[in-house]
Amino acid sequence: MGWTFQNDRPIYAQLMEQIKRRIISGIYPPGEKMPSVRDLASEASVNPNTMQRAFAQLEQEGLLYTQRTSGRYVTEDEGRILQMKEDLAKELTESYFAAMEQLGYSRVQAVKLIAEAEKEGKAL
Amino acid sequence: MLKKLIHHEFIATGRIFLPLCGAFLVMSILLRVYTEIQNAWSIKLPGWLGVIGAIPTILYVLLFIAVLAATVIVAILRFYKNLMSEEGYLMFTLPVKVHQLMNSKLIVATVWSIVSGLVCILSIFILVVTPDTFSTIDYWWNIIYTSAAQQGLYLTGWLAFELVVSTLIGVVGSLIMIYAAIAATNFSGNHKVLMGIGAYVAINIVLQTITSIAMTIVGVAFNQTFSEMLLDSRNYMGFLDLIIWGSCAMTVVTSVLLYWGTHWVLKHKLNLN
């Protein structure tokens, strides 16, 4: 999974989203130690201060926690991660509806299209 | 820091001088062996082969010139390229004093001047030395010494010392003059080489004018004293001392001024492009 950034939003916010996705998909499993700020900043080609800011925010949201001596860890609260996963899924669904609405499809029509696409996928 | 600068300056210059001096001395030995063989078998190469026979001598002369020229050329290039061109970006961002940059170049260039002088003497020695060289030198030395003494000139150790010191001062003075001219290139945008040569010529003209004015003044002012001194051959040595130390003092004064000027330019007016 690479790191990519859009132009119109602060980078720390985009970093937060992308780290969340990595936690959900298990790249950073619950209870595991996170890479250091500097290593991850280097990997993503971002400023370590920006990465620090993203980490701090994620900590506030309870997704990461700091152990005083040994660094930062992903939360062990799998319920919290599941909830985040569902939130993200809802968000994606909503943005799908929003995009379809712009094309002139109602929500019902959009759902129908998804169901059809799913059938076709199975047929393949 | 000066020590480290000198160390790196020796590395940078030694890579040119050591092989050059080495090649020159090897060539001296080869030429000597070659002439010995020629003499022993009285070989005389006919016609165009004679030209080939001259090749070792030509090579030797070229190397001789190269060794002498290298001292000047390397001194110029090390100051110009290393300080006033791109490499100056490195040298002038080192945490060292401008004095130390200048002194390291000056000391190392002086050492190489002395070394190349000694190497030239050694080379001539290699070419001509025979079992009775020393007695020949001794013989001629006696003749020269006696006839000079008859004129009131005593070729003593003191005089040798004076010559060594004034040569050394002369070498350092010439290097400083070159450095001052190179520092002047700092004020030219596109015609740096022209500026350098122009500055060198200008410095020379100014110094020569000052020197001749000073000498005239001294000559006129002390005309009486000098004339009286030269009437008596017992005063010749004293007069010689006066000339040597006088010119040394002159060189020291101008060198100090030029050194100071160069330092001022490099410290307060530096403009590398």
Partner: protein, 232 residues
């Protein structure tokens, strides 16, 4: 917090041409700052003044409160926008040179990075490719634990892979208490590693801002804003 780099009414004039027209600027430690402007806007002039390679016409420039000199050079690590190293030197000689003169130089780290780059210590600079040469220069400069890094066009004219290498080398090696100033006109390439930006145009500072502020308040990237400000 005291400024590591400060300019007060800094003017630099070449003949009749004013390269810098009275710059006032203060840069603090702990940040990566982009000095952004088109070619010929005065970026290099400013950086050269900070290094004492040229002298101000008027005004002053201070490094940690002092004019550029022996003391400032101990704490400033400078990457010029040209090849400034002796071409005949080997990588090992260069590392020793830096080690000899800079107390804050980490020779071990430098040699390790050289090895990772595939450069052998016995290689002479003149035998390396242009790109490798630039990387060697950057490694030497970033192997110092300086208080202020002044990087002049570190990514000018390099391919995307080399650009990534350079940015990674900067991020993973700079001293976190230091300030890093990166001058460039290739903004989109460095945007993500900057805390703050300074826009400079025709010898004058036209904008200073944090990158997040630009993105949050203007809803566009620094690159976008730059294109807007410097529209021809």
């Amino acid at each position: 917090m005291s400024a590591i780099l400060e300019c007060r009414n800094l003017v630099k004039q070449y003949g009749y041409f004013q390269a810098l027209k009275g710059i006032n600027l203060s840069i603090e430690k702990g940040k990566i700052i982009g000095l952004l402007g088109p070619n010929g806007s005065g970026k290099s002039t400013l950086i050269k003044l900070a290094n004492g390679l040229i002298t101000p016409t008027s005004g002053e420039i201070l490094i940690d409160g002092k004019a550029p000199g022996e003391e400032s050079k101990k704490i400033v690590s400078y990457l010029p926008d040209k090849n400034y190293l002796n071409e005949w030197m080997t990588v090992e000689q260069l590392v020793r040179f830096f080690h000899d003169f800079y107390e804050d130089f980490d020779a071990h780290a430098a040699l390790e990075m050289m090895a990772r780059l595939g450069v052998r210590t016995g290689d002479r600079l003149k035998n390396l490719s242009k790109g490798t040469k630039e990387k060697v220069q950057l490694i030497l400069v970033m192997s110092r634990k300086a208080q202020l890094y002044l990087l002049d066009e570190p990514i000018g004219g390099v391919d995307p892979a080399a650009r990534d290498y350079i940015l990674h080398t900067i991020i993973s090696n700079y001293n976190e208490e230091a300030a890093v100033v990166i001058s460039t006109h290739l903004i989109s390439d460095v945007e993500s590693i900057l805390d703050e930006v300074i826009f400079i145009s025709q010898g004058e500072i036209v904008l200073t801002s944090s990158v997040d502020d630009i993105r949050e308040q203007q809803d566009q990237s620094v690159d976008g804003l730059f294109r807007e400000v410097f529209k021809c």
